[in-house]
């Protein structure tokens, strides 16, 4: 391992003032603007591109939280994989028609209520802040972030990890979903 970096989080934080509010606000601003563009663009490809911007901004936020592994996975899985498939599908459907349809359907009151509730939740969390979430050191030092996640998922030194079972169940579920998709799309010959 890298001795200079694994020596401790403090030194890393002091040495590398990455987690400044400047970066935080830039990235969150990008994410919010991207999110707004996703729902307001009439053109589905533009929406998809905006969504990619949002996902990348969120990946940046993960990096600021010293969770590089999650950031990397976010880029690979969401921005690289899923969005490519999204675009793939979007290109195959009739955009001409969908762009002429009405943008907002009758669900908007329900959406408004949900948005207000979410805002209230955020305000509450922000107001209570320190009381809700214990201010503690980030448990995963950046340099061994990946190893720590592995230990939690797969276990370490003979012990079963904290989330091994949940992890395996989730992968089984995905496998079932894949099989289902294959069976549904397979043409009867």
């Amino acid at each position: 391992m890298n001795p200079a970096l694994s020596s401790g989080l403090d030194s890393a934080v002091n040495a590398l003032p990455v987690a400044t509010s400047f970066f935080f606000y830039t990235l969150s601003g990008l994410a919010v603007v991207g999110g707004l563009l996703v729902i307001t663009r009439r053109n589905a490809v533009h929406s998809a591109l905006a969504l990619i911007v949002t996902l990348l901004a969120v990946a940046g936020l993960y990096l600021m939280l010293y969770a590089p592994f999650v950031a990397g996975v976010q880029i690979i899985v969401y921005a690289g994989g899923i969005m490519v498939l999204f675009l793939f599908v979007i290109m195959l459907v009739n955009i001409e028609r969908s762009s002429k349809e009405r943008q907002f359907n009758r669900m908007w009151p329900a959406g408004l209520v949900a948005a207000v509730l979410l805002l209230a939740l955020f305000m509450g969390a922000f107001g209570k802040g320190r009381a809700l979430f214990v201010d503690r050191r980030i448990p995963l030092p950046e340099s061994s972030n990946t190893q720590q996640i592995a230990a939690m998922l797969y276990g370490d030194a003979g012990r079963m990890g904290q989330y091994t079972f949940a992890f395996e169940i989730a992968s089984l579920l995905l496998l079932v979903a894949i099989l289902g998709a294959v069976i549904m799309t397979k043409k009867k010959t």
């Binding site: 290109m91 195959l92 459907v93 009739n94 955009i95 001409e96 028609r97």
Partner: protein, 402 residues
């Protein structure tokens, strides 16, 4: 959009692709207004050519696709139409001779041979033996040149760039012989009605023999690049299969027919010139796929080498021009004469009214008829295979459109 506005309405009439209406009943190949959502329906109409790198000239193929799968094709030809048959009616027999070179410009010598022999037959004269030998040598050289050109471009279509340059390097040697013989490289106008205009130049035999020893290993070289290449095999095996029965029904001739297993070559079936003197084989394929057509043409090149070798060794002395009058005036009558051009049966149907100009001259072009089989061969294949199949039919648009 790739379908130009101007000609779209006229060229894409509904209904028919390839063999007949029946096979396309219900699915109309009408022109849709392609917006951003042309993949909305499952069917996609794509316009290949006339400006396309793989259509070997100005061939336009309208493809009806399901994803990448070809549901049907329609060829739009005629972009290179020059009215050769009309020109023939307004030129004397001698004057028309150079025009035939411009049809299949890759095999100009073969065209000339067919035309001269047809007129000779109509006039009931025969070229002297020495002229016959010169004709055979040049025609077979031209067959090799044509096949080399085919191989290079066909391989390029499938994505192999390098064979193109190898074949062009070796074809150059043939063109050099042509140039020394008659001054022209491509549209040679090598033969005259009644024989040949030019005596062979000094060292002609030596040049041809040198070429034989030069090119035999080169053909092996092409084969090492392609014959056992895995990707080449995958791209050509079982692609564009046409059965012998289909090929005959569609009037397909030449290497395409032979690759389907029909051992038919006009040089053997109805020998013209003096092909009956030479010992050679007719290579045939078994599956009628693109790979077999490739193999057949490769073997044909080797057989042509055999013929040339025998011809050069046996070439007699003597005159090169038969007893033909200065003004060519065939008697009233008509004749159909056909030869085995590199691409298939090349026929000339000439009606004479006793004047110096043909009353009617019809060319039976092999490329034109073979191209008709494209639709049968590519149905159900992928877009990439269309390119391979167009290449393997070996068309020359100058001959298709005339």
């Amino acid at each position: 959009m790739s379908i130009p506005e101007k000609e779209g309405t006229s060229d894409l009439s509904p209904g028919t692709l390839g063999l007949g209406r029946a096979s396309f009943e219900g699915s109309n190949l009408e022109r849709e207004t392609p917006g951003k959502a042309y993949l909305d329906s499952n069917e996609l109409i794509i316009n290949m050519g006339p400006q396309h790198p793989a259509t070997h000239g100005v061939l336009r193929v309208i493809l009806k696709l399901d994803g990448e799968k070809v549901l049907g094709t329609e060829c739009v030809i005629g972009y290179l139409h020059r009215g050769v048959e009309k020109i023939a009616e307004n030129r004397t027999y001698t004057m028309f001779n150079p025009y035939v070179d411009r049809m299949d410009y890759c095999a100009a010598v073969s065209n000339g041979l067919g035309y001269c022999e047809a007129v000779e037959k109509l006039m009931n004269v025969e070229a002297p033996p020495r002229a016959q030998y010169i004709r055979v040598i040049l025609t077979e050289l031209n067959r090799i040149a044509s096949h080399q050109l085919w191989l290079g471009t066909h391989a390029l279509d499938i994505g192999a760039m390098t064979p193109l340059f190898y074949t062009f390097r070796d074809r150059e040697e043939i063109l050099k012989i042509f140039e020394r013989y008659c001054g022209a490289r491509l549209t040679t106008h090598a033969f005259r009605i009644g024989g040949c205009q030019y005596e062979t130049y000094a060292g002609f035999e030596k040049d041809v023999k040198n070429f034989l020893t030069f090119v035999a290993p080169k053909i092996d070289e092409y084969e090492t690049l392609l014959t056992t290449n895995r990707i080449w095999l995958e791209r050509t095996k079982n692609v564009g299969v046409i059965s012998a029965a289909d090929a005959i029904a569609l009037g397909v001739t030449g290497p395409v027919l032979r690759a389907s297993g029909v051992q038919w070559d006009l040089r053997k079936a109805q020998p013209y010139a003096n092909y009956s003197r030479f010992d050679f084989e007719i290579p045939i394929g078994t599956n009628g796929d693109t790979y077999d057509r490739y193999l057949v043409r490769m073997m044909e090149m080797r057989q042509s080498l055999r013929i040339i070798e025998q011809a050069v060794d046996a070439i007699p002395e003597g005159p090169i021009m038969g007893k033909v009058p200065k003004v060519i005036k065939p008697p009233v009558g008509e004749i159909y004469h056909s030869i085995e051009a590199p691409k298939g049966e090349l026929g000339y149907f000439i009606v004479s009214d006793g004047s110096t100009q043909p009353y009617r001259l019809r060319v039976r072009p092999p490329s034109f008829v073979n191209l008709q089989a494209l639709d049968v061969m590519v149905r159900g294949l992928l877009v990439a295979d269309v390119v391979a199949v167009i290449g393997t039919i070996d068309i020359v648009l100058g001959e298709v459109d005339r």
